[in-house]
Symmetry: D2
Subunit: 408 residues, 4 copies
């Protein structure tokens, strides 16, 4: 790979990406464009602008954007249509944000004539894979610079020395090492590393940043209603809202009731296991509600097919293949299933859990006439079950007769 001439950097304004910024300038002598996005991580963006300016980035090379609506509408909601969970439990909060960041990096590279993009993910994790697969899928000729895999600033001491040597300001609380590492966006906060590295040890309370401890949550349950249209949440308690607003509100409900905490050991795509503490307050509520509305609006053929492909779909997102033909094929299948996933779910929020307690819809397939224990006025003829069972049993009988015959 020839040296990059102009690089778009995913820039948070924090110490690490500031060091990368400077390192790119000094190592490659290249022009740097910064991209700072509001994905709902809960940090001010303007300080990033100031810091970028201070580090010598030209104003026209500083991109600061609020992409929360795009994030929820085009990434989070399509994923929730699938009820996607990775390895049974993880709601993919980090995974789903990466492709959007890469998409904007590549678009800004095209707009600014840059030939490379760069990110601050390490060489051990999944995020490098997600960033780079997305970038290459969108522009096969783009270069990607991953400083953590390249440089020799591999210890805290070396990083701080580099920062000082390059006049990068260091916040006081960054002098020492953080006790764990954090990623956040509107969907979730993940924490991992250091004090969390022993999966036998319970995570300390101070790790949780986004939800109250269930023990401290209200002693009285709260009930809310979420309305869906074609698989996407569109209203809470009857009030219509934009995608990002809905997720923000659900986060608030979840935070208050201690919902969405997960202590998890997962398999990274790069081959090792890691342990993370995830908080997905709104996401947990949304998943439960989406399952609730599907219960009455999807038939078993559609539902079981969705269930059977879900693990593959979740794995693709986890591994960084959002922009791949197979993810798009699965999305086409999922979206086709959601045409009637319209209606309202009532949930009980209490001390760490969100549970469906009622659901209704004009599109409901639930037929009280068929299921009732009472007289059903001919909706269902119980004698049909006789033939249904006999023909389902036929091959089993033939097998049993064969076994008997062979054993003699």
């Amino acid at each position: 790979m020839s040296a990059p001439k102009k690089v778009v950097l995913a820039y948070s304004g924090g110490l690490d990406t500031s060091i990368i910024l400077k390192w790119l300038q000094t190592e490659y002598g290249c022009e740097v464009v910064t991209f700072t996005a509001d994905l709902g991580q809960g940090e001010e963006l303007e300080p990033a602008r100031k810091k970028a300016e201070m580090l010598g980035i030209k104003p026209e090379n500083i991109f600061i954007e609020d992409i929360r609506e795009e994030f929820v509408r085009d990434f989070v909601f399509p994923m929730f249509r699938a009820n996607a969970v990775y390895e049974g439990l993880y709601l993919l909060g980090t995974s789903i944000a990466r492709p959007l960041i890469s998409k904007r990096l590549v678009e800004i590279a095209e707009a600014t004539g840059a030939d490379a993009v760069s990110h601050g993910a390490t060489g051990k994790g999944n995020d490098q894979v997600r960033f780079e697969l997305s970038a290459y899928a969108l522009n096969p000729d783009i270069k990607v610079i991953a400083p953590w895999r390249e440089w020799d600033l591999s210890s805290r001491t070396k990083l701080l020395e580099f920062a000082e040597a390059n006049q990068i300001p260091i916040a006081k609380d960054k002098r020492g090492e953080a006790p764990f590492s954090v990623d956040a966006n509107l969907l979730h906060t993940s924490s991992e590393g250091k004090v969390l590295e022993d999966p036998a040890e319970m995570a300390p309370d101070y790790v949780y940043q986004r939800t109250v401890n269930p023990e401290d949550a209200p002693d009285t349950p709260e009930f809310i209603e979420i309305t869906f249209e074609k698989g996407d949440a569109v209203a809470i308690n009857g009030e219509a809202m934009s995608p990002a607003t809905i997720l923000t509100q659900l986060n608030e409900y979840g935070r208050k009731h201690g919902i969405g905490r997960l202590d998890f050991v997962e398999n990274r795509f790069v081959g090792m296991k890691s342990r993370g503490i995830y908080e997905t307050p709104g996401g947990d509520i949304l998943l439960e509600a989406h399952r609730g509305i599907e219960q009455i609006t999807l038939d078993s053929g559609a539902g079981h097919l969705k269930d059977s492909i879900m693990p593959r779909y979740a794995e693709l997102i986890y591994n960084g293949f959002w922009f791949s033909p197979e993810r798009e094929m699965l999305q086409a299948l999922i979206d086709e299933s959601q045409k009637h996933v319209t209606g309202t779910v009532r949930l009980k929020l209490y001390k760490g859990s969100a549970k469906t307690v009622g659901r209704w819809s004009d599109h409901s397939l639930y037929s009280e006439a068929h299921v009732t224990f009472e007289e059903d006025a001919g909706a269902y003829d119980q004698k049909d079950a006789q033939g249904f069972i006999q023909l389902n049993a036929l091959r089993l009988k033939l097998l049993a007769a064969r076994d008997k015959r062979v054993k003699g």
Copy 2:
């Protein structure tokens, strides 16, 4: 089908199966053998013996058995090795008990020279299918009598008249209709019908029989440790126990903390939707713990393959195909995966939920040396990630280049 001569009846001792007993005698003039099993449903069995005698069953034709250990060891535990859940949420508590009952019915038929078996399931539900597919798979020549699909005792009034005409004692509280229908065994209690038929309406509190309301559960979390060997729970808090004892104890923990409640609308195999309230106190804890121990003992190849076939496995059990080649094939796959699923999980039980907070094992695949944010002494070369990403990206680049070329 020619008339049966001797029928083994799955007999609870309750009003409905007593009516069936009498109906079989009068309708077919056949000898009846009763089979009453303790599956952990929480009822005394001896009254069933007395009632059977009273209804004219010969002592040698009355079979009363405690099959709880066989139930948990050979049915519940193999199913939990798969983390089986139906339609995302249901732990298959009723489904998994039916094949064992059928197995004993068929075995008793062979032992007593009976040519038929009979059950009290209706023509609308899944249980008739499960009973009958199991029976036919075990004995292709057995006859199955399903009175609810045959007789004309289709209203409460007719049933009571038949009972009175045949000197079947009717408990006072059975005169009126029950407000809902219940099935129970050591794994779960399910309630459905009548007051529960509107899926929009929250289930009344009195429906729950086996768990305290989470609001009434202790205000302090409780921590327990479950130890697994080859995928099966073998000890609680370090104390070794038999399978049924473990499940019984976990049920007690779950009951106390309000764990395992589910309000659910599901797709029956016979084609309609139904709404049930399920309580699986010990099962919920066991599933969470089993997932916890798999997190550190299964690698991603094994885990993802298990996840991908689980929905099919759960569907087979739900639909009544326990005794089928495909269930046995999937079981072989699952059991192969559990050879190293050995270790201990620590769980927090609190107000309706059980959550893994720690796990450890001599068989662990978790490698702190690989995942650490600290120096890893060469366990992992971050530069390898470069090649890994490049080759995973290659086809995506070729796709992107093709798209660019074609759009040209």
Copy 3:
């Protein structure tokens, strides 16, 4: 089910459906509408009109239609996009025609005010299921009359007596029983029953009606080129043609070279095994060609996902679930994959087989620059393979280390 008042009958003009026509009139006293379709079965349709008139059907109640283009365009081609084969070998020639016939029956019922439809399939086969599931999926209130499951004309003698008693003309060669049963349409001819019932015995030569014996095919291979656009064949040897014309031409090539014969034992949906002789001359060629063009235009992600869902898709069509949400979801997935399946395949036809010998496309993903044994000018860095392998191996190494440690 209340008695039908007006029935649309799938009417071939042959003896059996003529008997059904008369039986419907006499049994139910209902008005009969006949639907006779040209699906490419190779029979004249006008005799059916005359016969229907002769049996008392009013001219406005006789529907005769050439639906070959719709058949190939909307049913055969979508299915071939999936490379669908049932149980490894069967191209679903009968299965795919049934939903279209049902669709027209239901549409004609709506147009003529009929409340029922009827077909001539027996109670043992798959076709009854396919006809009826399709009809119910399109009109949940339609009645379906399946005379073979209802009447007592269960022997050849009774049928002929009924025919004579009702002045139904009987062709001479229909007096005796046919030595096997045949179904045909533009995609295939199937033969089964009677002389074919022993699966150990080789099918006699006279069973094959649509292909020459490979031994009698030309001694010289013939080469043809098929061009695809978005997954569908659009031209042969450079000449653009309509869907039905393409299949007709491919049938002619296949017939001449003895291509598409299959001696097969399959699992029917109703639970038994049956043996059929299938001839799919054009279909075999088309499948080979479609696979050929996909080889260069689909990437592995798309191709492997398609392969993994294909058996389920084929099973749905075989079982009669064309008009089901899950088939439509899978179709959405498949169609999404075909956007670039455009290009040309060259095939060698010779003595019973069609084989791809070349393929090219503007949409090709094949990159000689990458794969070449020669210098590749930097397209591919062999050193990347090192990291790729190391990270793919990581979990395997951790497993091996665990095994060693545990056995230790």
Copy 4:
């Protein structure tokens, strides 16, 4: 990776691996152990011994073994139980040999105290992945040397110079470059590269080395019978044979009749497409026969489950994951299905194709009594189909009613 001290080399005795042998000695100054296996590739092994001696390998470091029986019994046959084909057509002939070679390399390393193994596969292909994943899965501490990814002998000229400088004899026909590259074993011969690199061009006749051109095959069909026990072929025409003998004989039948030729473009695991010419004469016959015997001995539940997991199984073998938990889990599933796959298949071999024309078995599930068009003496009650269809249709009717209601 520290430098290896003693390396076990997969050594063919040819020019390329002789150069590797010398390069290992000179580059690393390490001791070399050679392993030369007879996998049925059709070459004498003794010349390899002489050449190794000549290149300075100590006699006790030269391992020459006939592993054909192990190859067929423990690798080829288990794979054929699954009817494994990669991307619809490729019988995995190269893929399945690699894990066995690696297994022996690792075992010899342990026996001789070597710390490394080495192979002659390039950095562009799949074989490097298969060799290395297998080696690491069997010994997590082994080093693997892949000279083609490391050295600078990247052109023909450099290789020949190195050979001459090191007194490696060069056969005359190796002076020029081969027009394509070949791999062979008892299951297949593959050819790729150079003259085959344009997938639009028909492969020249001289590429085929193991089968006659179908045009030159006998003009008369030949019929053979293959007998299976539990999924494995055990006899031809009634004569019992060892696994390798059976495959050898089938290869002879296939060669003679021009069976098993495949012109194929496939997706390599490393991300690019490549074109190969494969010849699998015996394998093609064996696959057809195995499918034939499964047709009567597997029920639909087992068969369809096998079909659904086959693509994943084939992909694992292709990608080099033979020694992985998920391949072993799938194998457990497959082997469980084969307990009754016992019986005999009759095949017609003619001009390039092998086709089942008859099959019989004491374990057959085919029931003429059920399927017959004649009177079936009560084996099957056609009225059962009514209920079977009604309950399968129920959800489709509810869907149709919903659609009607929603559209209004």
